[in-house]
Symmetry: C2
Subunit: 246 residues, 2 copies
């Protein structure tokens, strides 16, 4: 379907088409499509842009990544569809390992995600899942020793709550990216980015290193989530600020 | 996937499985899956139950239906998956016509929806779409003369904004059911029910006739939507009321 460039929600409709396209490629799952719809609704409420609190958490996240010995970015089907180019740019800029890691596990889907990134010029981990995240049933815990298993910091965009909590229990620093500030994933994170995954990686690639490290050192995640909830609450009660074309 | 009955979000997960099952049957579309995810997010914020403002709008809607000469309920793929039994019960109780009417049109999908209701004991319209709703491009405007075209009141659950507005322009009384109080559909309605479609029809089947008519006669839709937005806004800012398992 052709979407006119001047459509008030052009970006959102393009994102939705990408999801459907990647579903047809076998990279996104059916439940990934429903999850995307949930994200869309929270993004409406946020105004479909990165607000000040999102920006602050993204600067803190970059600060933590820069201070980490071994940060790893976990990518699943939806993340691949929504933010492949932004992740490639960010990962190359700072030399960060990326690992394909999926909830509805199949070797075929892992392979498709790895190949997708390879076809765009980035080698990523995921093919040799030789370890398990403790506390998760077999396939859902699979990961690579060289990647997530031995990382000190993991970035988990659009992650399932059980897995987010299991990574915390392993003692890792966890950075979440999730449009729902109330999801178990967002609540589990040490740094919880409440923003679209593509905007989050684009923003992180653009920030100043020193400023980000200094923001990280004084960042209060719980306080920031409360601010985001207040922001959403105000948005919801002020109809007049809403886009015309939901 | 087996869902334990004591799961805090059991009903929501059952609904999601129904959607996927009806997608596999060819009744729900891919974009219907994404739309359902949007609905889920708004339902989280509402607390996944019918609040007082939803109940009030549902009583007013029943009042309007009872005062109408020819009310018609429009059903699409998602509505069929989510509320088939509740619609059959409501429609039989009051002898209300039901018509299959879909946005992503195909004769095959219309046929599947009509047959689905027939297999559950209710004959519905939709097979003989011999008229057009003015202002909509060809297939999206299709409807039956005996149904939506000649109705004085139409109930349009989970409807597209363009179609809601086109029905208003035809001079019909329009009752919307949509979990997003800010959608163009909700904004277009004369009575806008912000509730899950299954809960809405179950509730409407249970109300007292006379009370509903008297509520309809003094119902203020804009005021009710503002109350719902206030309710959602308060819910969002009060983290402690949230279910544990989003």
């Amino acid at each position: 379907m052709e979407i006119p460039k001047n459509h008030p929600r052009y970006e959102s409709l393009i994102r939705r088409n990408r999801l459907i396209e990647f579903y047809e490629k076998g990279i996104v799952t059916i439940s990934g499509l429903i999850s995307h719809g949930r994200g869309e609704a929270f993004d409406y409420i946020l105004g479909e842009k990165s607000n000040d609190y999102a920006i602050l958490s993204e600067k803190a996240a970059l600060g933590l990544i820069l201070k980490s010995k071994k940060p790893v970015i976990s990518v699943n089907g939806n993340v691949t569809a929504l933010a492949d180019d932004a992740i490639i740019e960010f990962s190359k800029k700072y030399g960060i390992t990326v690992e394909a890691n999926i909830f509805h596990w199949s070797q075929e889907r892992i392979e498709k995600i790895v190949k997708h990134f390879e076809s765009k010029g980035l080698s990523i981990l995921g093919r040799n899942q030789n370890m398990r995240i403790p506390g998760l049933e077999s396939n859902r815990g699979r990961c690579e020793f060289e990647g997530i298993f031995s990382a000190d910091t993991v970035v988990i965009p659009l992650e399932d709550g059980d897995r987010a909590e299991a990574l915390i229990k392993m003692g890792k620093n966890v950075i979440t990216i999730d449009l729902n500030p109330l999801s178990r994933t967002s609540r589990a994170g040490h740094i919880s980015i409440v923003d679209d995954v593509n905007r989050a990686f684009k923003n992180m690639a653009s920030f100043d290193r020193d400023e980000s490290i200094s923001i990280y050192e004084k960042f209060d995640n719980s306080k920031n989530i409360v601010k985001i909830l207040e922001f959403m609450s105000i948005r919801l009660s002020s109809l007049k600020d809403w886009p015309d074309n939901l």
